[in-house]
């Protein structure tokens, strides 16, 4: 949802002059969409994904804490219930590492997609 809202905002913010330039060079509607609207909206799309990624993680772990038969959140809850401190600590570390790695990979990808932009990072 966050993604969709951001993409729409991004598309609305495409400077008119790019659209005009493309169409006076003979681009059709779909070509304008593909070659102008999508790249121009890339920063917005990326922001959307960033927020969505964070939200997905929180939701995943939280829902597992409440109702799940397996998964990291379930193991965490189990460790808490049976006083398995080592298990709790391990799960926390794993969640942290996963989030960290995903964030790094995402940043790499973002830097690649945005290599043309003045405001990289």
């Amino acid at each position: 949802m966050v993604c969709v809202v951001n993409v729409i905002a991004g598309m609305k913010n495409v400077p008119q002059v790019y659209v005009d330039a493309a169409s006076t060079m003979g681009a059709g509607r779909f070509q304008v969409f593909r070659t102008v609207a999508i790249p121009a909206a890339t920063p917005f799309i990326i922001t959307g994904y960033c927020i969505a990624l964070g939200a997905a993680w929180t939701t995943l772990v939280a829902s597992e804490l409440l109702a799940a038969q397996n998964g990291l959140g379930f193991l965490l809850q189990e460790g808490r219930r049976y006083f398995l401190t080592d298990q709790v600590m391990m799960i926390i570390t794993i969640i942290g590492c996963c989030a960290f790695i995903m964030d790094r990979l995402f940043r790499r990808f973002q830097a690649y997609l945005m290599r043309w932009s003045e405001a990289r990072e």
């Binding site: 005009d20 006076t24 790249p39 043309w116 932009s117």
Partner: protein, 246 residues
């Protein structure tokens, strides 16, 4: 191939039928000969940019019509290329890809694309910058990319909306000379909107002077100065004579 544009009794009103309606263009009637260089001058707000955008097909006049070689202009078309006042270089493409944008739209092969890129990157004086991003270029260089991109698309008509307005005087003069050079090598019907009369006389075969609110054509002056025109013709008697007359 070159083409003539004919503007026939064109009138345009923004917000027609509402109390705040403004007539920006009133009864414009003019012909731009095939292969000629035309300059439209006038104060800001006289509707010259509007007229140009309509010729490009970006929007339709409320009354009257325009034809290109007898065909009514409707919508945008690659035959009518336009260079804008603002920076319109796509920042997400390298210089080379910007240049070959038009041919790529029509599915040019990699070889054709490279040919176009090599030719026009050099011709607009950006040799060595082909694989740079636009953010690494100066304003003047980006304008060169704009120009090269439109030229590489090979339109019949070139519409220019004060493209050099944001440049310093010296760069502007260089760009104008380069433009004349490119135009003499591959002639197109050019309609150039500007606000400096001297530049208009220097560049054009026909100078159209417009008055504002509502935009009307006040005067059309043919310029018969010999070509190629060079910078030292600017102070010549003939040149100043025309300027005084207008």
């Amino acid at each position: 191939m070159m083409s003539a544009i004919r503007v026939d009794r064109l009138t345009h009103t923004f917000g027609k039928g509402t109390p705040s309606a403004i007539t920006v263009l009133d009864d414009i009637d003019i012909t731009f000969e095939s292969g000629s260089f035309n300059a439209i001058v006038g104060t800001s707000g006289c509707g010259k940019s509007t007229l140009l955008k309509m010729m490009a097909g970006l929007f339709e006049p409320s009354d009257g019509r325009m034809t290109l070689d007898g065909e009514v202009i409707r919508g945008t078309d690659r035959r009518r290329g336009m260079v804008f006042q603002q920076d319109a270089v796509f920042p997400w493409m390298t210089v080379a890809r910007n240049i070959s944008y038009g041919p790529r739209l029509r599915g040019a092969s990699a070889a054709e694309r490279r040919l176009v890129e090599e030719k026009w990157v050099d011709l607009v004086g950006l040799g060595g910058f082909a694989y740079r991003w636009p953010r690494e270029l100066s304003g003047g260089m980006r304008k060169r990319v704009d120009l090269g991109r439109v030229y590489a698309n090979d339109p019949d008509v070139l519409l220019m909306d004060e493209p050099f307005g944001a440049l310093d005087a010296q760069t502007k003069k260089r760009m104008q000379s380069d433009l004349l050079q490119a135009w003499s090598e591959s002639p197109k019907t050019v309609v150039f909107v500007m606000h400096d009369l001297e530049e208009a006389i220097f560049l054009a075969d026909q100078v159209i002077v417009m008055s504002a609110r509502p935009g009307r054509i006040r005067h059309v002056e043919p310029i018969d100065l010999t070509r190629p025109r060079t910078g030292d013709m600017r102070p010549a008697d003939e040149f100043i004579g025309i300027k005084r007359k207008l």
